[in-house]
């Protein structure tokens, strides 16, 4: 009885000590996965995820407090890349993704207040006070940050038009 208790205690103590010392001696600085995650995010700091910019979202995703699906402008593609980096299996079917979008300004509603210009993270909106604004298609990332800033609801999100350069042959149906 005593032998059993003693031997187990001693064994446990020795192993615990060895592991404790090893933990100190062999400590490795963990690699900053946050940076890698941030590199995958769009980098516009549009704030739609509810975190302060893309680095905040990356930190939240890394420590598990946010889902990889939290980036609306990134869509399914970014969510899948984040999940792969974290080794998570992800059900993307529930994620709303109706394709990339572009902001368009309705010219009859725009009053030229310049508020949307200030909110654009990529400087994609052109305009001056009391002049109708316009969106540069090439620079718009479809983050929708400008939509809420418009006092006349003149900013609309529209799907990116399909052109000859962007057309992809549809996948054939299986037999």
């Amino acid at each position: 009885m005593l032998a059993a208790i003693l031997s187990l205690t001693v064994l446990g103590a020795i192993l615990g000590l060895v592991l404790g010392i090893a933990g100190r001696l062999l400590a490795v600085a963990t690699n900053p996965i946050v940076d890698e995650l941030e590199a995958l995010l769009p980098g516009t700091n549009c704030g739609q995820c509810g975190f302060p910019g893309c680095s905040g979202a990356a930190a939240a995703i890394a420590d598990g407090s946010a889902a990889p699906t939290c980036c609306p402008p990134g869509g399914k593609a970014v969510a899948a890349a984040l999940a792969e980096k974290l080794g998570l299996s992800l059900d993307l079917s529930g994620m709303a993704d109706d394709g990339p979008k572009l902001a368009v300004i309705a010219e009859d509603l725009c009053i030229g207040c310049c508020r949307c210009i200030k909110s654009c993270p990529t400087d994609a909106i052109l305009g001056a006070p009391k002049q109708i604004h316009n969106v540069l298609k090439e620079a718009c990332t479809g983050c929708a940050a400008c939509v809420d800033h418009c006092p006349t609801e003149a900013v609309l999100m529209q799907p990116v038009p399909v052109t000859l350069q962007h057309w992809v042959m549809p996948k054939p149906m299986a037999a």
Partner: protein, 505 residues
């Protein structure tokens, strides 16, 4: 080529019924210029051309309509004389039926050439000058890929190719425009070949012609006789012999590495039609404004080869060829293997249009698709040595990475696999879909990088503005302080200020 191929013939590819005659034997016709031409601005590989004319402007045949834009692009010229009626979108000659920007030209019926700058002694010109003139004439590869020829010439001069291979394979069934051109204009083609040799610095030209075109081989051999550097080499008729990689392998025995280009093995390939276009551009200064198009298929009343101005509607070409007999089951631009299925006939002919096929139901021979039985017929047919069935399985499961792992990027989309498939699986559509998806992913990646740069530029700008504001405020403060100090210094004594204040009060 390996020993096996020496003894047992080529193991890759397929040998479809060629259906080239009687269209190939019919005399070449020239189509009159239609009233209205629709000249697409995307007739070549690369960026669309930028319009250089205004609506309402009068142009003569051969005047430049659009300038090349970007590194890979080509100029576009007026196919006839007339007035620019519109610059806008028209249906593109493309299976999607999406619109493309085009210049609509109303013909004045005179078909009058602009002043042309020909050259009587082009071999005295610098090779770079030949490339420049070819570029100015808007010549693109007429085999179907429509890569700007001038760029290919100057690139091959830089990479010091030794062999120029002329592609007269024309392995696609039904098509015979290259065959016809070689029979009718062999001397022009040989002259074009010699010009291209001069422009690229290559020492020999091998003209590969499939052995099912004996008349073309005879005509070309005759035309090339005086020139030792140009030799005509009959090659076995086998699809896809007209593919760059296959033709190089058969003619030189050199195999192009997986992600390499012909230039890597010291070879450059041009189409025989391109050689004629180069001859026209250099000798006569004529830009590429019309081309020989094969009109064929069971629904065409008078099949044959027709010189068609670029921008003519397919509808009008078919009408010139005697009209349609019955509704075609499928309308194809290009060959039946690699061509594009057209949604309708109101699309214009472009520089890369080698053929217009109106096939009936028997020729299309469409059957219901069945499951893969893993017979590996596609593996045997694949000229590159890939596993089409495995690639299709990966793509079916949306596993693009897996498909790339089994060689998707090396696929030349020749369609041999789909042709031999006993289950009628549209393999080549799967590959086209996957390649499109991959291109979309690459674009998204580029876009993400551009976005990052723009976001960075914005934050830099905000920072700079804040700094400038702070500096400005500091400067103003300093100025105010200096001004205050100055007034304090100029003010003689406190008492006098008090007096002044008192006076004011």
């Amino acid at each position: 080529m390996g020993l096996m191929e020496k003894f047992f013939g080529l193991s890759w590819g397929i040998h479809p019924e060629d259906h080239k005659r009687p269209a190939a034997d019919a005399a070449t016709r020239t189509m009159p210029v239609p009233e209205r031409l629709y000249v697409s601005l995307s007739q070549h590989l690369g960026a669309p051309a930028r319009p250089a004319v205004l609506v309402g402007q009068k142009v003569r045949k051969g005047d430049k309509l659009a300038d090349p834009q970007g590194a890979v692009s080509a100029a576009i010229h007026a196919p006839t004389s007339g007035t620019v009626a519109a610059i806008g979108e028209i249906p593109a000659p493309h299976p999607s039926g999406l619109p493309v920007l085009a210049i609509t030209l109303d013909s004045d019926g005179k078909d009058e050439w602009t002043e042309l700058e020909g050259c009587t002694d082009p071999f005295a010109l610098e090779p770079a000058e030949i490339s420049r003139r070819v570029a100015a004439a808007g010549v693109v590869g007429l085999g179907g890929a429509t890569f700007p020829s001038a760029l290919k010439l100057s690139l091959s001069q830089k990479s010091k190719v030794s062999t120029l291979i002329m592609n007269g394979g024309e392995c696609e069934p039904y098509l015979s425009c290259d065959d016809r051109l070689m029979r009718d204009a062999a001397a022009d083609i040989v002259d074009g070949i010699r010009l291209m040799l001069h422009a690229t610095g290559a020492t020999e030209a091998l003209v590969g012609i499939e052995d099912n075109k004996p008349e073309a081989i005879a005509a070309m051999t005759e035309a090339a006789r005086p020139y030792a550097e140009v030799s005509v080499r009959p090659v076995p008729a086998r699809y896809p012999m007209g593919s760059e990689k296959q033709l190089i392998l058969v003619l030189t025995g050199k195999e192009i590495p997986a992600d390499g280009r012909p230039g890597d093995v010291g070879v450059v390939v041009h189409n025989v039609g391109t050689a004629r276009a180069v001859h026209e551009a250099i000798r006569h200064g004529r830009p590429l404004v019309s081309r020989l198009v094969t009109v064929n298929g069971a629904c065409v009343a008078q099949p044959g080869n027709i010189f068609v101005p670029v921008g003519t509607l397919v509808e009008e070409v078919l009408a010139f060829a005697g009209g349609l007999q019955g509704a075609p089951a499928r309308l194809i631009m290009g060959g039946p293997m690699m061509g594009m299925s057209l949604p309708h006939a109101r699309v214009p002919v472009v520089k890369g249009t080698s053929g217009i096929l109106a096939l009936d139901a028997a020729q299309v021979a469409e059957r219901a698709q069945e499951p893969c039985i893993r017979c590996a017929s596609c593996v045997r047919a694949c000229p590159i040595g890939l596993l089409p069935l495995e690639m299709a399985r990966h793509i079916q499961a949306s596993d693009l990475k897996g498909a790339v792992g089994v060689g998707l990027k090396d696929c030349i989309a020749c369609g041999c696999c789909a042709y031999v498939c006993p289950s009628q699986i549209p393999l080549v559509q799967y590959f086209a879909h996957a390649k499109g998806e991959m291109a979309a992913q690459d674009r998204a990646k580029l876009r993400a990088e551009a976005t990052k740069k723009m976001a960075q530029a914005r934050s830099d700008r905000l920072e700079r503005e804040a700094r400038e504001k702070a500096e400005m405020a500091a400067r103003r403060k300093a100025e105010r302080a200096a001004a205050a100090a100055a007034t304090a210094a100029t003010a003689p004594t406190p008492s006098s200020t008090a007096v002044a204040e008192g006076a004011q009060a």
